[in-house]
């Protein structure tokens, strides 16, 4: 009898409608991604960066090659030469292949001078595979990439990425 009355007065349907009405005013989960960047975790590991000494502007890397040795993917290549005067190793080239990187963060853990660091930048997509290998200038100065959020006009044209035209 109760069940019959429930069906006659659409109790379940009304309960469903009440639920959907409640969710209509629920906080929306959607992120407006390119215009609105997500808030990342504090220790998020993203794009690599090779730090310079903020006072002298010289690189912090002492070319000890520890990052290259600890890397499980073997994707870091450190090039160096010995300065004949000071008998110190000097960094010449440094490449970091982001296409193979698993962002484990071992390189930044082991680095004795905090030279290599994984930043919070996660926008690593690019149009060519070769472009995913970051060289020393890109690691130090960042990547001149298309910013989809700030300027929607250039977002449609690939040509707007000056960096890619130079290298890719």
């Amino acid at each position: 009898m109760v069940n019959f009355l429930k069906r006659v007065f659409f109790v379940d349907v009304l309960a469903g409608l009440a639920l959907t009405l409640k969710y209509t005013f629920h906080r929306v989960y959607t992120e407006q991604y390119p215009t609105e960047k997500p808030k990342l975790a504090e220790r998020y590991r993203g794009a690599p960066r090779l730090n310079n000494d903020p006072e002298t502007g010289e690189t912090l890397c002492i070319a000890c090659d520890l990052c290259a040795q600890v890397c499980p993917e073997d994707l870091i290549v450190v090039g160096s030469e010995r300065d004949p005067d000071t008998r110190k190793k000097v960094l010449t080239t440094y490449t970091f292949d982001t296409s193979r990187c698993l962002f484990c963060g071992l390189c930044q853990e082991i680095c004795p001078t905090n030279a290599i660091e994984l930043t919070q930048d996660f926008e690593l997509a690019t149009y060519s595979r070769r472009n995913m290998v970051w060289d020393r200038t890109r690691l130090e100065q960042g990547w001149d990439r298309i910013d989809y959020g700030a300027d929607r006009e250039t977002a449609s044209g690939r040509e707007s990425s000056r960096y890619e035209r130079k290298t890719g």
Partner: protein, 367 residues
């Protein structure tokens, strides 16, 4: 005399029709946006946000896209019927609005006097304003309006059946068959649910039905709640809306009757669906919710509600019902086909019939 005739029976009705068609087209376009927005928020999404502020220009972008898309007629299809079908389903949905009253008779009297007085003598203006339904808030008031609406709106389903047949393809045909079965089982209950109102109003004219609700100081939803619920459910089935959208049933029938349609012909079907949603809401408003009347039309304490123009009240109620249409779509899953037939014949039809008998008995015995 002649100019009076032309103005009051040709020019002014044509102007009214133009205004209604324009407003209706705009309403259909923005109803799609409303639906996408409401359903998105029910699902805790945002819906269209890119075109214009919060997607306000999305309907225009969609319309442009439909026009620019390739219009395909399948090679084995019956080209003539294939072309006619979307038109047949769209036109009736618009035609129905010729009898739906947006406002009371005499609503436009002041406007007409103001517009006509510089050009005609006062006597001519008087005779224009007083002739026919020129100054009413409706295109025409015919004494069989309810019948007219029922018969014309069922022609719309003919378009769906023709589309399914002419496409010469399996899924559209299945959709069309479902549509015809659905029409047969729901139109009966729909018709019977209106009879209760007709018995009380003693009229088939939609204008008079609203005026009777003013006289009785009561919207008919309070006298005929069962009929209202039935009318609304059957209206949903009639307009092929979820949970009764079996002729389309994307998950089972690809797209149902419009599987083979593309470009602007598809857009016509889409518009027809939304137009008939508006039709069903407008009919429910007129029959059960007091049309252009504010709540408590004759209670002096609520007379301030008359300050809002009657058209606004009408549109508000229609909007409310449309929102419920969308809300229900966002809530309920689709019925299985046998469930649909079961509810149509075994539940709604007997209940509607019982409602008619009980109302008739009460009216005979007590009033």
């Amino acid at each position: 005399m002649d100019s009076v005739f032309i103005i009051s029976y040709v020019v002014i009705p044509l102007l009214k029709i133009a205004v209604i068609v324009l407003i209706l087209s705009g309403a259909i376009a923005y109803l799609t946006l409303l639906e996408r927005k409401v359903i998105a928020h029910i699902q805790v999404r945002l819906g269209p946000m890119r075109v214009g502020w919060h997607g306000l220009l999305q309907p225009i972008a969609d319309g442009l896209k439909f026009i620019l898309k390739e219009d395909i007629v399948p090679s084995r299809a019956d080209a003539l019927v294939f072309t006619l079908a979307p038109i047949i389903s769209l036109v009736p949905a618009f035609v129905v609005f010729s009898v739906i009253p947006f406002g009371p008779p005499g609503m436009l009297e002041g406007v007409l006097r103001w517009a006509l007085s510089p050009f005609f003598s006062p006597e001519t203006v008087q005779s224009i304003v007083e002739s026919g339904s020129v100054s009413g808030g409706f295109v025409t008031d015919i004494n069989i309006a309810v019948l007219f609406v029922l018969s014309v709106s069922s022609v719309g389903i003919l378009g769906i059946i023709l589309a399914g047949w002419a496409s010469n393809s399996k899924y559209p045909l299945l959709g069309a068959l479902r549509s015809s079965a659905q029409m047969v089982s729901y139109e009966v209950a729909l018709g019977f649910s209106i009879i209760g109102v007709l018995l009380i109003a003693r009229s088939l004219s939609l204008v008079e039905i609203v005026q009777k609700q003013q006289q009785d100081q009561l919207w008919y939803i309070f006298v005929q709640p069962v009929a209202f619920v039935l009318f609304f459910i059957c209206g949903m089935a009639e307009t092929n809306r979820l949970p009764f959208d079996l002729p389309e049933a994307e998950t089972e029938l690809v797209g149902g009757f419009h599987t083979e349609y593309s470009g602007f012909r598809f857009a016509l079907f889409f518009m027809a669906e939304y137009a008939s949603m508006i039709t069903a809401s407008a009919m429910a408003t007129t029959l059960f919710l007091g049309g252009w009347l504010p709540p408590f039309p004759s209670v002096p304490a609520f007379s301030f509600l008359h300050l809002v123009p009657p058209v606004i009240w009408f549109l508000l109620k229609v909007f409310l019902l449309l929102y419920i249409f969308i809300w229900v779509r966002g809530t309920l899953p689709r019925f299985r086909f046998d469930q649909l037939m079961k509810y149509g014949w075994k539940v709604f039809f007997p209940v509607a019939l019982g409602n008619v008998l009980v109302s008739a008995g009460v009216l005979l015995r007590f009033i």
